[in-house]
Every structure is written in structure tokens, then in C-alpha cells.
């Protein structure tokens, strides 16, 4: 919790940030007012000094609208002042006046809002102007003239340099703040995209599951009922003496049965219903159809999301099919377990010939793509001569 004075200060800062023109105008007025006691009595000098002070105050008031132009105008005014023989404040003297502060403010503003190349040029201009002013007005003779000159040069140089350094630091801080903001925005966007992707992955898994259900409850049932009816008709016709019709019905019956088989394979490829019961039963059934003897270990206490289970299932199916096709293995081990990291790790090891690798357009490349959709990882260890271990790591939720 912020203390009371800090909160007030923060409100003041916020207000000044929100109203730069008013803040700068106030600063200019203060500068102008504090120069009032330095107005000379002689009428010509008085008018000149007031004009110079008002013009400089104006550049300060507008300093943030265009820092470069404000600084240039300030520099021209002071140069004219020097050329016209007016010292700072109107008198030919070296005393620091309120309007001299205007140049310091303008240099600070230049360093804070413009690229370093511009502000360094500004610093050089200021230094040169100061050198000219010092050369012109410094007391070169008299007691301790050398010491006064050195002190003056040091004071002016340090003041100008300090103004530039403060301005440059402010610019750096602002740039850093902006980059922080950008990084924050990027992180927010990344999180937002991750959430959207997770929703899309889950929705897609749910849609596939629904399609399978619809096929099961709709087309598959109707087709099975049709095949049943055709089967009965066919058997009835076998008693009658109508060979052409029997041939026709037999063919229709056969087609209906084959369509049933194809539809079943299609539906299972979309979403094996046993996946609804979890990875262990689904992988057990999958492994049962494997041509290679297998050992299956599933150690998962908390079920991953359906989309992740589906990815793990189809990856295992592909890896088992690969092993059967290419490895000439005598044994395959499927190991699914939760990692301490919370990731789901799926490892399929066969004692076959090895040499499996991810090739463009190949089965493993397809798996990699599938795994990448949820930021999973796929690792292939398959030296020539085997054994082959393919490890897949998946998040528990998309």
C-alpha cells in the first residue's frame, strides 16, 4: 500500500503527464517572473531584455511540442543576445540568470525527446555558446582572474552536461518502459493465443467425438438394419425360384455389409469410442490388434484432456503400425506415464532393425506435426541395428 503523500505525488505526476502544455506554461511563467528583478532600468535595454525573456519563456512553454525547434529558437535568441552585446539578463555580465535556465531546460528536453545524435549536437552548440560568452565577458584581469575563469568554465560545463545526462537518462527510461509495455503486450497476446488454441483443439476433439456418435447412432444403425432386411429377403428368395432377383439382392446385401465395414473403420479412425473410457482401455484394444507381441504399461492417475488422449492414442497407433511395417521387431513395449513435470510421456520401444527417422512426408513427420499442435515434443532414438525408442511428451491439457 502506498502512503498518503506518495499517492498525492503520484496524482500530481499523473496530472502533469496528462497536461504537458499547462505544466510547461507554468514553468515558463515561473522563469519569466524570476527574471523580473534582472530587468535593467535603461529603457532600450529594458525593452530588449523583456523581449528576450518573453521569447525564451515561450520556447520553454512549447518545448515538448517540438523539442528541436524550441532548442534551435532558444539558441538563436541567446546568440542574438550575445551578438547584440547584451549579457545574460541584459547586462554585460556572467551572472547566472533565470533565462539562462531556459537554455538548460531546452537542452534537457532535447536530450529527453530526440535521438542522441541531435542532443549531442545541441550539447556542443551550448558548449560553444558558453565558451564564446565566457571569452567575451570573463574578467581576464584582476585579482584571482584565473581562478574565477576556471570555476566559471567548470560550473557552466557541469551544468550543461548534467542537463544533457538527465535528459538522456529520461529518454532511456522511457524507451525501456515502452519495450516493457511491448513485451507485456506480447506476453498477453501469447497467453491469449494459447487459450484460443486450447479451445480450438478441445472443440475439434469434441466435434470428432460427436461425428463418431452421430455415425454410430445414425448411418451405421440404418445401414445395419438395411443389411438385416436384405439378409432376410435374400434367405427368403433362396426358397423361391427367382435367380435374377436373388443375384441382385445378394449383391445389394454384400454391398451393405461392406459399407458397414468401411463405415466402422472410418468411424474408428475419427474417434475410437473406447477412448471415452480412458487411455488404458483404448491402448489395450489397440495393442491387441498389434501384429507384434507387446508389453503395455499405463501409469496415469489423473486423465489428460480428451484432445491429448486422442493425440496419444493416434500416435501410438501410428508407431505400432510403423514398427510392424518396418522394424521386423519381435517385441514392442508401450509405456505411458505422468512425469514429475506434469507432462504425459509416451514411449514406444521395439527391438527391431532401427534406422527410423523423421523424413518429410513420412509417418513420423505427420506425428511431429500432430504433437506440435499442442507444443508437445517428439524424440527419435533409432540407431542402425536398433533398438528404436520413440518418445513423445505432451502437456496434459492443450
Amino acid at each position: 500500500m502506498n502512503t498518503y503523500p506518495e499517492r498525492v505525488l503520484q496524482q500530481v505526476y499523473a496530472w502533469t503527464r496528462g497536461h504537458p502544455r499547462v505544466a510547461d506554461g507554468t514553468l515558463a511563467l515561473v522563469l519569466l517572473a524570476s527574471s523580473a528583478n534582472q530587468i535593467p532600468d535603461h529603457l532600450v535595454f529594458m525593452v530588449g531584455a523583456i523581449a528576450v525573456n518573453v521569447l525564451l519563456a515561450t520556447t520553454v512553454a512549447l518545448r515538448r511540442r517540438d523539442p528541436t525547434a524550441a532548442f534551435a529558437a532558444g539558441a538563436v535568441i541567446v546568440a542574438a543576445q550575445l551578438a547584440g552585446g547584451l549579457g545574460a539578463g541584459g547586462y554585460p555580465s556572467l551572472g547566472l540568470t533565470a533565462t539562462d535556465l531556459a537554455i538548460v531546460v531546452l537542452l534537457y528536453t532535447l536530450a529527453a525527446y530526440r535521438p542522441r545524435r541531435t542532443s549531442v549536437t545541441g550539447l556542443a552548440v551550448c558548449m560553444a555558446g558558453a565558451a564564446i560568452a565566457i571569452g567575451r565577458y570573463a574578467p581576464l584581469h584582476g585579482p584571482r582572474a584565473g581562478a574565477v575563469l576556471l570555476l566559471t568554465i567548470a560550473a557552466v560545463g557541469v551544468t550543461l552536461l548534467a542537463a544533457w545526462v538527465l535528459g538522456d537518462a529520461a529518454a532511456y527510461r522511457r524507451a525501456y518502459y515502452v519495450s516493457l509495455q511491448q513485451r507485456l503486450t506480447a506476453a498477453e497476446r501469447a497467453r491469449d493465443l494459447e487459450e484460443k488454441r486450447a479451445r480450438a483443439v478441445d472443440a475439434s476433439a469434441a466435434r470428432l467425438r460427436r461425428i463418431e456418435r452421430d455415425l454410430h447412432d445414425g448411418a451405421q444403425v440404418r445401414l445395419a438394419a438395411l443389411a438385416l432386411a436384405l439378409g432376410e429377403i435374400k434367405e427368403n428368395l433362396e426358397q423361391a425360384d427367382d435367380a435374377p432377383t436373388l443375384a441382385l439382392v445378394s449383391s445389394a446385401h454384400q454391398n451393405a455389409k461392406e459399407a458397414l465395414t468401411e463405415l466402422r473403420d472410418l468411424a474408428r479412425g475419427i474417434h475410437p469410442p473406447v477412448l471415452d473410457q480412458g487411455l488404458r482401455p483404448a491402448l489395450t484394444i489397440l495393442a491387441e490388434t498389434s501384429a507384434i507381441p507387446f508389453a503395455l504399461t499405463v501409469e496415469v492417475t489423473e486423465r489428460p484432456s480428451p484432445a491429448i488422449e486422442a493425440i496419444a492414442y493416434f500416435c501410438t497407433a501410428e508407431l505400432l503400425a510403423n514398427a510392424a511395417k518396418h522394424s521386423a521387431a519381435a517385441h514392442v513395449a508401450i509405456d505411458v506415464r505422468e512425469q514429475d513435470t506434469g507432462l504425459l510421456r509416451l514411449a514406444v520401444t521395439d527391438d527391431g532393425v532401427g534406422g527410423a527417422r523423421v523424413a518429410a512426408g513420412g509417418g513420423l513427420a505427420g506425428l511431429l506435426e500432430r504433437v506440435h499442435t499442442v507444443d508437445g515434443r517428439l524424440d527419435v532414438k533409432s540407431p542402425a541395428g536398433g533398438p528404436t525408442t520413440i518418445t513423445i511428451e505432451l502437456p496434459r491439457h492443450a
Binding site: 456418435r213 454410430h216 447412432d217 451405421q220 444403425v221 440404418r222 445395419a224 438394419a225 443389411a227 438385416l228 432386411a229 436384405l230 439378409g231 432376410e232 434367405e235 446385401h253 451393405a256 455389409k257 458397414l260 465395414t261 466402422r264 468411424a267 474408428r268 475410437p272 469410442p273 473406447v274 471415452d276 473410457q277 482401455p281 489395450t284 484394444i285 495393442a287 491387441e288 490388434t289 498389434s290 501384429a291 507384434i292 507381441p293 507387446f294 519381435a330
Partner: protein, 214 residues
């Protein structure tokens, strides 16, 4: 036969009911979910119950669980489970407790009406029926590849028919060989697998299933 049908799809339920009725069987109840099925079985005590694996509410394995319970509680009632997909482990579970009067068939098999009714009859009479696809999977899984490797291709063929619950005569008919040859094959198979040959078909199936599904 007195039959109870449990199938959630009305088209299939009605189609089966009509077909079985036309073939002279008595469909005493046709229900759409596992709870009603249990009630119908208790009320009617049919010869056989034909049960779909996937039924409401979760559409996963309600039917299988109901079938296992009925099989356990009413051993005299035949239970035929039919499924959209082949799930060998489901079949072996179903057969595991007491493999008499029990069957597991792929839903597509209804298309061959006489074979289907023959299967129902066998189950109703206390026999066993196992879908050829399940047998193929169990044999193809190669989990016992080393032992099965000892069998000749012909012996494997015979074993798969034995596992489906066929008699020697039926196997002889299917493979177009003499029953004597079948007997010799069966003896060889059980010898090679280290199983004692037995008189009835059921024991043969028990042996085959126990062996294959272990």
C-alpha cells in the same frame, strides 16, 4: 426361444424383433437401456438376452457390464453381446467367469440372418459364440507367438474355428476335410499348447480363450 433384446437404436431394435418373430421366436421384451434390461430379464427369465454394448446414458460399455452381471446372477440365461467394434479384451472378460451360455458378436453379423439366429440358439442352449474377428485378433496379436509358432497353418485355422465355438463336424464342413482329420488336428493343437483334450465344445472354447486371452 424366448428372447429379450436390449438395443438403444429403435430401428435396429424393431428390425431384430420383427426378424426374430418372423422366424418363430418369442421376443418377450425389447428395451433401450441397461436398467430396463435388468428388469425385463428378472421379469421374463428369457432363454437368451441379446445386448448392445453401447447404451444410454454414457454410451460406453453399459451393455457389457449389464451382460456380465446377468451372466453372473442368472447362469441359466444365455447372454449374447453384440458390439459395433471388436474389443477382444471385452470378449475375454465376458468369457472369463463362466464361459457357458455366452456369446460376443460384431453387430454386422445380424446381416447374415440364419447364422445370427444359429448363434443365438447356441448361446441359449448354453454354448459359446465368439466372433471370428475377435479370434483373428487374439491369434494375430502374437502375444503367444512363440508357442503358436509351433502350430502348422492348418492347425491355426482349426484353432480359430475351435475358438469360435464350432464342433468338429462343423469345422470339417468348413474346411472340407473329414471329421477324423479334424480330431487329429485338435489333438495336436492341444498337445502342442499343453492343454488336455476334452469331450465338449465348451471346454475346448474355454481352453482356447483362457489360453489366448491370458
Amino acid at each position: 426361444m424366448r428372447i429379450v433384446i436390449a438395443e438403444d437404436a429403435a430401428i435396429m431394435r424393431d428390425g431384430l424383433t420383427q426378424t426374430l418373430t418372423r422366424r418363430g421366436h418369442d421376443v418377450v421384451a425389447a428395451v433401450g437401456d441397461a436398467a430396463t434390461l435388468r428388469q425385463a430379464v428378472e421379469d421374463h427369465r428369457p432363454d437368451v438376452a441379446i445386448i448392445d454394448v453401447r447404451m444410454p446414458p454414457t454410451h460406453t460399455d453399459e451393455g457389457l457390464r449389464a451382460a456380465t452381471a446377468i451372466h453372473r446372477d442368472f447362469p441359466e440365461i444365455g447372454v449374447l453381446v453384440f458390439s459395433q467394434y471388436v474389443e477382444a479384451h471385452a470378449a475375454t472378460e465376458l468369457f472369463a467367469s463362466a464361459p457357458t451360455g455366452v456369446g460376443y458378436l460384431l453387430k454386422d453379423r445380424v446381416a447374415d440372418v440364419s447364422d445370427f439366429i444359429d448363434a443365438i440358439t447356441r448361446v441359449a442352449q448354453g454354448g459359446t459364440v465368439l466372433d471370428p474377428e475377435v479370434v483373428r485378433q487374439l491369434l494375430g496379436a502374437g502375444r503367444r507367438a512363440d508357442s503358436l509358432a509351433a502350430l502348422t497353418p492348418r492347425e491355426r485355422e482349426v484353432l480359430s474355428l475351435v475358438a469360435q465355438g464350432r464342433s468338429n463336424a462343423a469345422i470339417a464342413g468348413a474346411l472340407v476335410i473329414s471329421p477324423k482329420v479334424v480330431e487329429k488336428h485338435v489333438a495336436n493343437i492341444f498337445d502342442k499348447l499343453g492343454l488336455a483334450p476334452s469331450e465338449t465344445d465348451n471346454r475346448r472354447v474355454i481352453a482356447a480363450i483362457t489360453y489366448l486371452g491370458s
